[in-house]
């Protein structure tokens, strides 16, 4: 049996909590798996380390990926996921504070599906998360597993 989850790669506790709150407020009820650095993210996807025992039936419906991460940064995580047969089709949304052109270009260049800048205004943030959830969890037809 497959379970469709949202994977949030985020090292900042405040942002994590606010993002989860935004999901709740948007009535997105999927389980959210939170990983807190780039290395852990890769462990999760490739069932290694602390995540070696997780259920292989957990399917990431969408990954929300921050760029600035401890150990392995977001772009390297993205590169690794796109390079692996098992993860190359997972929808990945870059969710970050940076609006630098070069981050955008690199992100799309490495195969990000979407790039969203986290707004400071929480209402706008909730809006953004709602639209994201609506699109990636409801409208978008994911590649068959």
């Amino acid at each position: 049996m497959h379970e469709r989850v949202i994977v949030l790669v985020e090292d900042n506790a405040n942002d994590e909590e606010l993002t989860l709150r935004a999901f709740r407020k948007s009535n997105i009820l999927n389980r959210v798996v939170v990983v807190r650095d780039g290395a852990e993210a890769l462990d999760y996807f490739f069932l290694r380390g602390a995540h070696a025992g997780r259920s292989p039936g957990e399917i990431a419906q969408v990954v929300l990926l921050d760029l600035k991460l401890p150990k392995i940064d977001g772009l390297d995580v993205l590169r690794a996921l796109r390079a692996d047969e098992r993860t190359r089709l997972i929808p990945i949304v870059i969710l970050t504070s940076s609006a630098e052109d070069q981050d955008l270009m690199r992100g799309y260049g490495l195969g990000a599906n979407s790039y969203v800048r986290k707004p400071v205004d929480f209402n706008q943030f909730v809006d953004a998360v709602r639209q994201l959830g609506l699109y990636w969890l409801v409208i978008n037809q994911a590649a068959p597993v």
Binding site: N14, R21, S97, A99, E100, V120, D121, F122, F125
Partner: protein, 565 residues
Amino acid sequence: MADDGTSTALVKRLRDGLRLVSTVAQSFAETTSDYRRLLDVIARNIAEAIPDTCIVLLRSGEMLNIVAIHDGTPSAGPRVRRTTRGGTPVREATISADVLANGPLFMPRIDYARLRTQMIAESVDQLEASQTTGMLVVPLGARGELHGVVWVLRHGTQHPPLDELDLEIVRDLANHAALAISNARLFSDLQRSEQLRAAEERAVQASRLVDAIIENIPDMVFVKDADKLAFVRLNRAGEDLLGLSRDQLIGKTDFDFFPASEAEFFVAKDRETLASTVVVDIAEEPIHTPRGTRWLHTKKVPLLDATGRPAYLLGISHDITERKQAIADLSAAKAATDDANRELESFSYSVAHDLRTPLRAIDGFSLALVEDYGDRLDVEGQRYLARIRDAAQRMAELIDDLLTLSRVTRSELRRERVDLSALAHTVLGALQRLEPERRVEIVIAPGLHAHADPQLAAIALDNLLGNAWKFTSRRADARIELGRLPGDAATTYFVRDNGAGFDMTYGDKLFGVFQRLHPETEFPGTGIGLATVARITQRHRGRIWADGRPGAGATFYFTLMESHA
């Protein structure tokens, strides 16, 4: 009465002879250098007076050259073969040589048999062949110099034989002629030596000028001989540079003064120059001097002799030590600037990321407090939270504006054709959508184009039109205009509004970062926008300036090109 007839003829000959001598003497007195023409005249006169053949030969070194030849009896036909035109050497046992050595030869009747015993056959044969019966040969001598000989020849028996009177007249004329030749030669020698002296003087002056030029050239100039590469010349700049006097240097080679590796390099380049026979350019070479190592830009030139072989090597060295140092300093400064820029870039990146994150928490949790615990807060408490959120959002704007300013400063400028009119419509359209209730008269001149960076131009218009939109917010008859001034070399664009305006007293503060002329409560803003626009015009080598009055609107003028006006 035969005696009387003879006397009369004799008197006539004497008179003719005297006249001839006096004419010739006078002519010679008047002449200075053109004695050859006069010798010709003499030869003709003698030939006519005798009347028979007269030949004048002039000596030039060991050669005798015929300079005049006249036949008194042309009807008799050519009796003197003119094969000697090119000159004959003065040889022993020729008649001319004999006369030059021993004085006049006078033979009224030539005894060929006897003559052959005295002279070489060749010259005698010639005489006999031309049926010469008598001859008279006198030297042209004066002041101990022998210039040549005068021959008078009698042919056949048609005329009486040559006599003593003929000898006297010819000798007299020869003496005059010789004197004239001596004078002329003296004069010409004098003239030549005068010319020589003047030429020498000119040469000395020319050489002095060349010396002065070489001496005063502010670069080192040196000359080496092509063979041993020993110095033969060095100018003052060279002495100063090397710290050596030319007396110390001349005659020596590079190995006597410079470290072996340097000397070997110099000599190798010298040899290369001489072998290639073209100029060799050495962009930089180090040289050991009392002031430490100096860097030279040297050109080496082969100086060729008349046969095209290199005889000397000319070197011209420009001291580039300071310039090289300046270039090194400049590239160090550039490296430092690049470092600083990279640092700024990573700083800006951190600002974007790290400062915004806590702001988001402040805003987000304030809102969470309102949403989840609003019922336990009174109105004042709710207002405080609203102010916290306002402040957080305002700080986010500030950060974004500062980031834009820094991006505007460091991004690469890429000019292309930008449609400013279309851009303005887009910007104002967006503003209108944000505040659909506002009624603003918008006047955008059609077809405004600029050769500018499209992104930066968009940021500039965004700020200028955004300001105009903001500062006209309190007017019911708001009007915003974008146009260009007519007839300017560098196109001047302007954004004009009829909004709040400003006091020109503070006009210079308009374009500074964080400078605001209106209270935040009246018109919100970060005070970074116009600084950003000013930076954008600067990056385009353009200018920005403004004109305004409180309550009467403002006009911002800007150019996006260098103005040469």
